[in-house]
């Protein structure tokens, strides 16, 4: 069976549901037996959920059009 280190090295694709059936089977075999890695998988999934939902780094919908206008104004200013 995989060690925790081996599991942690390979579980990236598992999180993305992109692991091959063979790799997935080996990872799940480890996961079934290892409470610690279960915790890590669960908390990493929750982390991804938080990050994905994070709206700190986006323009809000009402900011987009003024931004587009600013960019186009600058382009037209520069254009001879």
């Amino acid at each position: 069976m995989l060690s925790c280190a081996e599991f942690l090295a390979e579980f990236g694709d598992y999180l993305e549901e992109a692991a091959s059936p063979e790799v997935r089977a080996r990872l799940e075999e480890h996961l079934h037996e290892c409470k610690t890695c279960q915790v890590i998988v669960d908390s990493t999934r929750k982390t991804i959920r938080f990050v994905t939902d994070c709206d700190s780094f986006t323009l809000t919908a009402d900011q987009v059009e003024p931004f587009v206008k600013d960019v186009m104004d600058r382009i037209r200013e520069k254009k001879p």
């Binding site: 090295a9 990236g12 610690t36 890695c37 908390s43 990493t44 700190s56 986006t58 323009l59 960019v71």
Partner: protein, 576 residues
């Protein structure tokens, strides 16, 4: 351009050094007669390195030059150095093998290669001679591959390639140089040192490490004085750009670092030099200079991914005169010479390199060169709009800004950590994209190309404030061991208010090292595919996956204290 310049061998006055070296004036130099100072510099190097008596025999030097000519596919140079033989078979074989590797695979040369030569009985002085000779061979091959002289009458037509083919080395050792023992520094009145201090403000280590041959350093100094410094044809900055682009193609960290710094003394910002290194086509230079760099890049020792040879026609179309083209070729040849010297001697950069070339840069086919590459070919939902803009419809660009502004802003906001900066830089990115959209060839998605510009621009800004951090840092081989291994609450969203949670996530992301942060931003915040992120970052897909996982785990560590399920903490839990 072989037929465009007349060669008149009978005018041997200024060519005395060449006659001494070859017994006649080779066509290679006759083709450059419109630039006597360049010929003088080349003669000086040939005299110091080949003609002047030193540790290695003239015959052995000829063998080394022939090996380089074979490696570079220069029939002309093979013929020019055909009449030379080596004497000491077994011992010389080690040197010839070293020369073959240095000529073909300079980035792989490491101190183990030099130690192997020492073990075969070559002392540092002989090794320096060998490196110098191979470097000179690169210079001559660059000239002949660009100028394409006719074979000189009387020289034998070269037979098929005789140099042993060398399999591409497997191991890439990042062994620190310098490889040769330091020699006593010359007194402060050593003329070349005075020249370097005056012209560059310092004495580059590459030259200090050749002080076993001060006469050669003197010839090299003359070469720079006669080819790099004059401004009567190409500008100094244009020639420094040639040094950068050739050195980048040769994966030469040293010269990119040193000459980027030198360019700052000429008023060129480091970020502008970096753009030349990453993709000169998006740099703030004239179309003529873009064309110049397009052509000279083909003359690099390792013109990765470039099959076509140097062509002066596009340069003539951009108004470059024949002497200017000759000077550009000579500058490329000198750069190959210096790059080879550096690779052979292992000189370490005089300034902290901003761009460290690594093994991954060797395999552009497994991923486009970093940033602003458009070298893949997925279908692109923006293709039609891009075509309109390229056709002159400026207004159509508005739709591209609308489609991508949130994503580009998101990437930059996460990268820079400041919304105002992100807004300004996002505007700059779109302006840059508009300016260069004519060169976008549609071999990658427009969004990938745009993301590349954004990351490049953002990281440049970051490096101005945090010069030590780099996206290009090597992959960490050390295992990342999670320390927070208590269970999280089943519904962690209920543990903290949404705004507090958002603040924590934002702070956690901003604390991530840059190279992990940018991947997390692309993949998790902006939902860019792994393939597209890899293309935009110039990384392999496994590297993107590894960085994403590491970034997510680091973020998990920083969030864990706020979300662990207090009542079920299990202090005994540990990794097996």
């Amino acid at each position: 351009m072989g037929g465009t310049l007349a060669t008149r061998n009978e005018e041997s006055g200024p060519f005395r050094g060449l006659i001494e070296a070859y017994g006649f004036v080779p066509n290679l130099f006759g083709l450059q007669k419109k630039l006597p100072r360049v010929i003088e510099a080349e003669q000086g190097l040939i005299d110091a390195i080949v003609v002047r008596q030193s540790g290695l025999s003239r015959g052995l030097k000829g063998c080394l030059l022939r090996i380089v000519a074979s490696a570079k596919g220069s029939d002309y140079c093979r013929a020019l150095h055909a009449e030379t033989e080596s004497n000491d078979g077994e011992k010389d074989a080690a040197l010839l093998a070293f020369a073959n590797k240095l000529a073909r695979y300079a980035p792989w040369i490491c101190k183990h290669d030099v130690e192997a030569l020492r073990a075969s009985g070559f002392d540092d002085s002989l090794i320096l001679d060998a490196v110098l000779t191979v470097a000179l061979g690169q210079l001559l091959c660059t000239l002949s591959n660009a100028l394409r002289p006719n074979l000189d009458s009387g020289l034998p037509t070269p037979a098929s390639i005789e140099s042993s083919r060398l399999a591409e080395p497997v191991e890439w050792f990042d062994t620190g140089g310098p490889y040769l023992q330091a020699s006593p520094q010359s007194a402060s009145n050593f003329q070349p040192y005075a020249f370097f201090r005056e012209q560059l403000g310092f004495v580059p280590k590459l030259f200090q490490e050749q002080m076993l041959r001060p006469d050669v350093v003197e010839a090299e100094c003359q070469t720079l004085a006669q080819i790099l410094m004059p401004e009567d044809l190409l500008s100094r900055v244009a020639k420094e750009h040639i040094v950068l682009i050739i050195s980048a193609a040769n994966l030469n960290t040293y010269f990119v670092a040193v000459h980027s710094q030198i360019l700052t003394t000429l008023g060129v910002r480091l970020e502008d030099s970096n753009q030349i290194v990453e993709d000169h086509r998006c740099a703030a230079i004239s179309p003529a200079e873009v064309a110049l760099l397009d052509e000279v890049r083909k003359l690099a020792c390792c013109p990765r991914g470039l099959q076509a040879g140097f062509d002066p026609i596009p340069l003539q179309a951009h108004g470059f005169s024949e002497p200017q083209i000759l000077e550009a070729v000579a500058m490329a040849a000198v750069t190959n010479f210096l790059n080879t010297l550096q690779a052979g001697l292992g000189a370490v950069p005089d300034f902290p390199p901003r761009r460290v070339f690594t093994r991954k840069d060797l395999y552009p086919s497994s991923g486009p060169s970093r940033l602003i590459s458009d070298a893949t070919s997925p279908s692109d939902p923006d293709a039609a709009v891009v075509a309109c803009v390229q056709g002159g419809d400026t207004g159509a660009f508005e739709e591209l800004v609308r489609r991508h502004s949130r994503r580009i802003f998101g990437t930059l906001a996460g990268l820079l950590g400041n919304l105002d900066d992100a807004r300004d830089v996002t505007q700059d990115v779109f302006l840059k994209a508009f300016e260069h959209i004519g060169r976008f060839q549609g071999r990658s998605k427009f969004s990938t190309w745009l993301t590349s510009i954004a990351i490049n621009t953002g990281t440049e800004l970051l490096r101005q404030s945090k010069p030590c951090e780099s996206l290009d840092g090597g992959e960490e081989d050390d295992e990342f061991r999670p320390r927070q291994i208590q269970s999280w609450a089943d519904n962690p969203e209920q543990v903290l208010a949404a705004t507090q949670r958002t603040d924590l996530v934002r702070e956690g992301i901003l604390r991530l090292p840059e190279k992990y942060r940018v991947v997390v931003l692309l993949r998790d915040i902006n939902q860019v595919s792994t393939e597209e992120a890899a293309a935009a970052l110039g990384l392999s897909i496994p590297a993107v996956k590894a960085r994403l996982l590491r970034g997510r785990l680091m973020l998990r560590e920083s969030l864990a204290p706020y979300f662990i399920r207090v009542e079920k903490r299990s202090p005994d839990a540990q990794l097996r």
